[in-house]
């Protein structure tokens, strides 16, 4: 479905992605794991179009979407839920959700989709008139995911949704992600939380210093010596 082929990307003179290739198939949960600074967020930024690649290609169902404007990417059904949530803090939760549905079909079905999000996140519904900036970290993450879902994505890209959350909440968030996949949304997840994500993803890639160094099913990587040593501390 989504194919990233040999992409290179730099911030000014600083190259951070080197020949990165991976693939996400329809209905999968694929996770990109790696240490802080490995380039995980940068990969998502190139896909959502907020960073341009210097070479390589990104295709969606065979059609190149590399270096396309972010406003086009979201219309094509790929949404990027950024690291640290980045909600519109001075807007209500409901307005934040509305911001996820500015175009086309998503706009037409805005309130219908919102009801579905409220079913998925009852806490978000309770808080819908509150300013997003006043919510707890876990609630904010739920709003961020819901805001992504409001665009009716085919592919949901999540950048470290577990960041800064208490362990109980982390489990909740991952359960929700599984639920979202069951509703037919393909998920590309970026995480440092290696242990948990590898146990529930379909396939995973390891990113180190801007390069993909390992790939396999979650189970394979959990049993990989390098992964065990470098990421699981075993």
């Amino acid at each position: 479905m989504l194919k990233v082929e040999n992409i290179n990307m730099s911030y000014g003179d600083l190259q951070v992605l080197w020949d990165v290739s991976f693939e996400v198939k329809e209905g999968e949960i694929v996770v990109l794991v790696g240490a802080n600074g490995a380039g995980k967020s940068s990969v998502l930024k190139t896909i959502s179009g907020i960073q341009k690649i210097s070479s390589g290609d990104i295709t969606l169902n065979g059609e190149s979407i590399a270096n396309t404007e972010p406003s086009e990417i979201i219309k094509k059904g790929i949404v990027h839920v950024p690291e640290a949530r980045r909600l519109f803090n001075e807007m209500t939760v409901e307005e934040n959700l509305i911001m996820g549905s500015l175009h086309g079909e998503a706009k037409e079905k805005r309130y219908e989709t919102m009801e579905k999000c409220f079913e998925l996140f009852p806490r978000v519904k309770e808080r819908r008139k509150q300013l997003a900036g006043t919510l707890s970290g876990g609630e904010q993450q739920m709003v961020a995911i819901a805001r992504g879902l409001m665009s009716l994505p085919k592919i949901l890209m999540l950048d470290e949704p577990s960041l800064g959350l208490a362990p109980v909440l982390v489990q909740d968030i991952f359960d929700i992600i599984k639920g979202i996949r069951h509703q037919g949304v393909t998920v590309l997840l970026v995480e440092q939380n290696v242990q948990t994500t590898l146990t529930f993803c379909d396939r995973a890639y390891v990113l180190e210093n801007g390069r993909i160094t390992l790939e396999g099913t979650g189970k394979e990587l959990l049993n990989n010596d390098h992964v065990r040593e470098a990421y699981l501390g075993i």
């Binding site: 972010p70 406003s71 219309k75 519109f88 807007m91 911001m99 996820g100 500015l102 175009h103």
Partner: protein, 291 residues
């Protein structure tokens, strides 16, 4: 007591106009993250347009807002698109460069106005210029009352635009987090350019509404840039409600200054308040309510 009430009410009326000037400045500040030092000069252009429409076409200054608002909107969008935005795109250039650009735009506008219209004072005289309503011993200057009412309608209209439409929400979203807004599919370039137009359009409305009660000459531009700056500082930078409060406070303060000190000190009062606020209340009026 009557003099006091009279000054207070006149001050509030003019403050209503200052409020929309301040809201325009605040909108631009919120989205572009710059202080628009051409704000008053754009208002001056609107005043000249209003004057020309009245002088050569006999169009009433209040009706002319239907022309000045769209005209200045398009004019300012052009400035933003071709002069300001190219600087924003370049990440290596400091944001100060855009502020300097607004200074440059302001100077050019003033000198253009001087070469076309000379430095002579201009004013217009309509049938209602000198009219006043008398209510309970207080006289209400008709043109100011009309201007105030129109300013209120514009403010309400803007409120609905910002709160209830996708365009308005996109403007607020871009002001709050540009990257997140971009990820929602909002073109921040489009919103940035449009916001400069919108903020300037409010300024334009204020210009047209001021002309019946204010002398016009090219240096009105810098004078109103300073006023706009004072209003937004008073309002605590970046809050539209603050800008309304700031506008009203400045209007009242100026009128009191003119009444109780000397009419020559009207504009100086604003500057004194400005200094007091900067030194004692660096957070603007918001700080007063919080403490």
């Amino acid at each position: 007591m009557e003099v006091f009430l009279q000054s207070l009410i006149s001050g509030l009326l003019i403050g209503g106009l200052y409020a929309i000037i301040g809201i325009g400045m605040t909108l631009i500040m919120g989205v572009l993250k710059i202080i628009n030092l051409a704000h008053g000069q754009i208002l001056m252009v609107a005043m000249y347009v209003t004057w020309v429409l009245w002088k050569f076409f006999g169009i009433d200054p209040y009706l002319s807002i239907f022309i000045t608002i769209p005209f200045i909107f398009v004019f300012a969008e052009g400035l933003s698109k071709y002069l300001l935005h190219p600087l924003i795109e370049k990440e290596s250039i400091l944001p100060e460069n855009q502020v300097l650009m607004t200074v440059g735009i302001g100077m050019v506008l003033v000198e253009l106005a001087r070469s076309i219209f000379t430095s002579n004072y201009k004013s217009i005289h309509t049938s209602y210029t000198d009219k006043a309503w008398h209510v309970a011993g207080i006289s209400l200057h008709v043109p100011l009352v009309i201007a105030f009412v129109i300013a209120i309608f514009l403010t309400i209209g803007l409120y609905f635009l910002l709160r209830k439409t996708d365009l308005g929400r996109s403007i607020r979203a871009t002001a709050q987090d540009k990257v997140a807004a971009t990820l929602m599919g909002i073109s921040s370039a489009k919103i940035t350019i449009l916001t400069y137009g919108l903020g300037s359009a409010l300024d334009a409305a204020a210009g047209s509404l001021l002309l019946p009660v204010y002398y016009l000459y090219p240096d009105v531009g810098p004078l109103f840039t300073v006023k706009a700056f004072v209003i937004t500082i008073l309002g605590g930078l970046g809050s539209t409600v603050g800008a309304i409060a700031g506008g009203l406070v400045l209007g009242v303060a100026e009128t009191f200054g003119a009444t109780y000190i000397s009419s020559g000190y009207r504009d100086a009062v604003g500057l004194v308040i400005f200094l007091i606020v900067l030194v004692f209340f660096p957070g603007g009026l918001k700080r007063l309510t919080k403490v």
